[in-house]
C-alpha cells in the first residue's frame, strides 16, 4: 500500500439549532451550573471533587524522582557539606555552576568561598547531584525560582543552603538510584568529617 491511509476528521456540519446564539449561551450556562452544583454537593459532603489546586497556597505533592532547583546541604553546625571539589562544575553541561574554593582550618580543610548557580541557565538535569561525592548538592523539590531581574537568577551560596533534614526523601531516592548504600564513607552525615 503506497503511502498508507490518512484518516481525515472533518468538522461536524452545524445543525440549524447550533447557529442560534442565545440558545448556545443557555447551553453553556447549563454546563457551568451542573459543575457548580456537583462541586457544591461534594463540598457539603466533605468530599470535594474539585481538581483545581490553590497555587501558591497549595501545591502538588511531588515524586521523590522530581528534579527541582539544585541546593546545597547545610550540616547541623551550620556549615555547608560541599568541599568545593569541582566535580559538579565539571559535570554541568550548561556551565551554570561557579565555585571558588578556599582553605579552612577545621578538619574538612576545604570549602567553597563562592558557590554560584545561574538558575536561568540550569536545565535541572541532575548531573551535579550524581557526580557529587559528598551528597552536598541535591535536586530539591523547589521550583519557585522566577525573578523580575536577570541578576536575581544567580543564586549565591547563602541562598542555596538548605538543612539536610529537609532533603531526606530525595537523598534516599538518590542513594537507591545510584546504588549507593547508606551515607558515603568519607564525610559523616551531619557531624562533619572524621
Amino acid at each position: 500500500m503506497a503511502g498508507g491511509v490518512i484518516t481525515v476528521v472533518r468538522r461536524p456540519r452545524l445543525r440549524a439549532m447550533d447557529t442560534i446564539g442565545p440558545l448556545l449561551i443557555l447551553r453553556g450556562l447549563a454546563v457551568t451550573t451542573r459543575h457548580f452544583l456537583r462541586n457544591l454537593w461534594g463540598f457539603l459532603r466533605g468530599q470535594p471533587t474539585i481538581v483545581t489546586i490553590h497555587y501558591p497556597e497549595q501545591s502538588q505533592p511531588l515524586s521523590p524522582a522530581f528534579r527541582g532547583m539544585p541546593v546545597l546541604v547545610r550540616m547541623a553546625n551550620g556549615k555547608e557539606r560541599c568541599v568545593a571539589c569541582g566535580l559538579c562544575e565539571w559535570a554541568c553541561p550548561v556551565d551554570c555552576i561557579t565555585i571558588y574554593p578556599a582553605e579552612t582550618s577545621d578538619g574538612i580543610e576545604r570549602y567553597p568561598e563562592i558557590f554560584d548557580i545561574d538558575m536561568s541557565r540550569c536545565m535541572f538535569c541532575g548531573l551535579c547531584e550524581e557526580s557529587c561525592p559528598e551528597e552536598a548538592i541535591v535536586m530539591s523539590p523547589r521550583i519557585t525560582i522566577a525573578t523580575t531581574d536577570w541578576r536575581g537568577s544567580v543564586w549565591h551560596k547563602q541562598d542555596l543552603l538548605v538543612p539536610g533534614s529537609g532533603l531526606a526523601v530525595r537523598l534516599e531516592h538518590v542513594r537507591r538510584g545510584y546504588e549507593r548504600t547508606g551515607a558515603p564513607v568519607v564525610g559523616n552525615q551531619e557531624e562533619g568529617r572524621p
Binding site: 562544575e89 565539571w90 574554593p101 574538612i108 580543610e109
Partner: protein, 526 residues
C-alpha cells in the same frame, strides 16, 4: 643495541639501559611510582613488575638491565594480578581525600587505582591516622596520610637540590615522610618535590586549594624569571594564570624549575595597566591607543627634528621577544634616528643548577639582535649621564628594569626628562613621571621567541587572550609609521618577523619558526 621481545613485539634498546625507561620510550604503558628519569633508581614501589622469561619471579622493570634476547611480558594475567596486589596494599591506608586533594586529576594513584584497583576495600580495620597538614617548609605542605613512600622527594633533595631535608622515618608500616627537626624544606627548588610526588602528599602552598587541575588550560612556554629559560607549562583558567609547572627539556632544565621562577606569575594577573595614558595639563589622563601613539610620535619627533638623534635615547626591556626587539631596533634607528639605546639588565644571585644571574628573560636575544650597546657605544651609564647633563631630553623606556637598576635616584633622574614615553605592563612608580604611557603585554599574552643564556631559541606561546590590546610589536610598528618610517603594510606577525631575523642575523640563520617546536633549537655558533 640489544634486541628484546616485549609482548611479542621485537624492539631495539641501548645496551646497559634499564628495562622500564626503554619500554616507556617505546610507548609501552608500565605503571610506576618511584621511578623518575632524572633520579637514581630506588625500586621500592614494586608497581613496575613485569615477567621476564627465565627469571624465577616477577621482576621490577626499573632496576632490570636489558639483555640481548630478553623476552618480556608486561600485561599477562600474572603481571596484572601482581600489580593489583600492589595497588591494594598502597590503598590500604590511603585516605579517601580525592575531593579535597589538589593532586586529583593528575594523580598516579588515582589513575592506576582505576586501572588495577578493586572498587571495594577488603579490610575492616580503620585506616592509619597521621598528620594531615605538616608545615614542612615555606612553600610546601605535607600530608603524611597520602604519602605512598616512593621516596622520589627524598632522592630529589639529596641528589638534585643537594640539601637533603626530607627523609623516611621509622620502619615497616610505621614509616612516615618528614623533615629533620628544625630543618625546613626551604631550598630554592622545594616545589619540585610537589611536582614529582605521584600522589597529593607534597603540595605547593601557592596552588593549594586554588583550582582543580582539570579546569586548567596548559600552554607550553618559557619561564621569564631569568636567563636560563626553563621550559614551563602555563596553567590558565578564568582568564588568569594559576600556576607555572616545569616541562621536560633535557637541553635546558631537565624536569626542574626554581621556586622563585615558578611563583613569578602574579604580575600577569594583578595591577595591570590596560589603558594608554597621556599627560594633559600636568596630569595623566586615559587616551585611545591612536591618540597615545600620536602624542608619543609627535613629542619624540619634535625633539629629533630640532635637536637631532642625540637628544633622544631608548632604554630597552630584555623581557621583549626577539621579534619585538627586532622591530623596535628598526624603529629606534629609523624613527627616533638615534644610536643611543641599551638594554637594562638586572643581576642577582645565581647557582650551579638552574638559576642564572641575569634576572631577565631575553638579555641574550637583545644582545644578538643589536639592541644592547656594544663597547664604545652609548650605554646605559652614558644615557644616564646624558639625562643628568640635560643633553638627552627625550627618553623611550620599555620595561621597569631600569628603575630598579638606578635605585633610589631613579625618581630624580626621570624627573629631569622633558619627554618620557614609557611602555610597561604593570602599575609602577615610573608611570608617574611619564608623558605618554603605553600598556605592554606580558610573556603569557604573546607569541614569539626568547633566546636563553646559552643561545637556545625557544618559543613563547600565548596563554591568555589580550583582547583588544595591541601587542608590543604592533605598538612599535604604529609608532614607527607615525614617526615617518616606510614600513611594510600589515600588522605585527611574529612568524614573519622571525623569518626576517633568520635572513638578517647570522646566529639565527639555520632556524625556522616551525622547526623550533616545543623544545627550541640552539642558534649557530659564532
Amino acid at each position: 643495541m640489544a634486541r628484546i621481545t616485549v609482548d611479542g613485539a621485537p624492539i631495539e634498546v641501548p645496551d646497559g639501559s634499564m628495562l622500564l625507561p626503554s619500554l616507556l620510550d617505546h610507548g609501552f604503558q608500565i605503571p610506576h611510582y618511584c621511578f623518575h628519569p632524572k633520579l637514581s633508581i630506588d625500586g621500592c614501589c614494586r608497581m613496575c613488575l613485569v615477567r621476564v622469561e627465565g627469571m624465577p619471579k616477577l621482576t621490577i622493570s626499573c632496576n632490570t638491565p636489558v639483555r640481548d634476547g630478553m623476552v618480556v611480558d608486561t600485561r599477562g594475567p600474572e603481571v596484572v594480578k601482581a600489580r593489583q596486589g600492589v595497588i591494594e596494599m598502597l590503598l590500604l591506608n590511603h585516605p579517601l581525600d580525592c575531593p579535597i586533594c589538589d593532586q586529583a586529576g593528575e594523580c598516579y594513584l588515582q589513575d592506576y587505582a582505576f586501572e588495577y584497583g578493586t572498587r571495594q576495600a577488603r579490610t575492616q580495620e580503620p585506616r592509619r591516622k597521621l598528620l594531615k597538614r605538616v608545615d614542612v617548609g615555606p612553600r610546601v605542605v605535607l600530608d603524611q596520610e597520602r604519602c605512598i613512600l616512593c621516596r622520589r622527594c627524598v632522592r630529589f633533595c639529596r641528589e638534585i637540590a643537594k640539601t637533603g631535608e626530607l627523609g623516611i622515618f621509622n620502619l615497616g608500616d610505621r614509616s612516615v615522610l618528614d623533615i629533620f627537626p628544625g630543618e625546613p624544606l626551604a631550598n630554592d627548588y622545594s616545589i619540585c618535590t610537589a611536582d614529582i610526588c605521584p600522589v597529593g602528599a607534597l603540595l605547593s602552598k601557592d596552588f593549594h586549594h586554588k583550582m582543580r587541575v582539570w579546569f586548567l588550560d596548559e600552554t607550553e612556554s618559557v619561564c621569564p624569571g631569568c636567563a636560563n629559560g626553563c621550559n614551563v607549562k602555563i596553567g590558565t583558567a578564568r582568564r588568569k594564570v594559576y600556576r607555572l609547572v616545569p616541562r621536560r627539556n633535557d637541553h635546558v632544565n631537565d624536569t626542574w624549575m626554581c621556586d622563585s621562577g615558578r611563583l613569578n606569575y602574579r604580575f600577569v594577573n594583578e595591577r595591570r595597566l590596560r589603558e594608554p595614558h597621556v599627560r594633559r595639563a600636568g596630569s595623566l589622563v586615559s587616551a585611545s591607543w591612536e591618540d597615545a601613539i600620536d602624542e608619543a610620535a609627535r613629542r619624540l619627533g619634535a625633539l629629533t627634528r630640532t635637536d637631532g638623534g642625540g637628544a633622544v635615547a631608548a632604554v630597552v626591556s630584555p623581557h621583549l621577544t626577539n621579534e619585538e626587539l627586532f622591530v623596535l631596533g628598526r624603529v629606534i634607528a629609523g624613527g627616533l634616528r638615534t644610536v643611543q639605546r641599551d638594554v637594562a639588565i638586572r643581576l642577582g644571585a645565581a647557582d650551579e643548577l638552574l638559576i642564572k644571574a641575569e634576572k631577565v628573560a631575553n638579555g641574550r636575544g637583545a644582545r644578538d639582535l643589536g639592541l644592547a650597546a656594544a663597547a664604545g657605544e652609548v650605554d646605559l651609564a652614558k644615557i644616564r649621564a646624558g639625562v643628568e647633563a640635560g643633553s638627552i631630553r627625550g627618553l623611550f623606556v620599555i620595561g621597569t628594569d631600569v628603575w630598579e637598576l638606578w635605585g633610589d635616584e631613579s625618581a630624580a633622574i626621570f624627573e629631569r626628562i622633558e619627554t618620557l614615553i614609557v611602555q610597561v605592563t604593570n602599575e609602577h612608580p615610573l608611570v608617574a613621571h611619564a608623558d605618554v604611557v603605553l600598556p605592554g603585554l606580558t610573556f603569557a599574552e604573546k607569541d614569539g621567541t626568547f633566546t636563553n643564556f646559552a643561545g637556545r631559541v625557544q618559543r613563547v606561546r600565548r596563554a591568555l587572550d589580550p583582547g583588544e590590546r595591541p601587542s608590543d610589536g604592533e605598538v612599535f610598528l604604529r609608532l614607527g609609521r607615525r614617526l615617518g618610517m616606510e614600513l611594510p603594510p600589515g600588522g605585527f606577525e611574529p612568524e614573519a618577523v622571525f623569518a626576517e631575523i633568520t635572513r638578517t642575523v647570522t646566529r639565527y640563520r639555520d632556524l625556522s619558526w616551525g622547526a623550533l617546536g616545543s623544545l627550541g633549537l640552539p642558534g649557530r655558533e659564532s
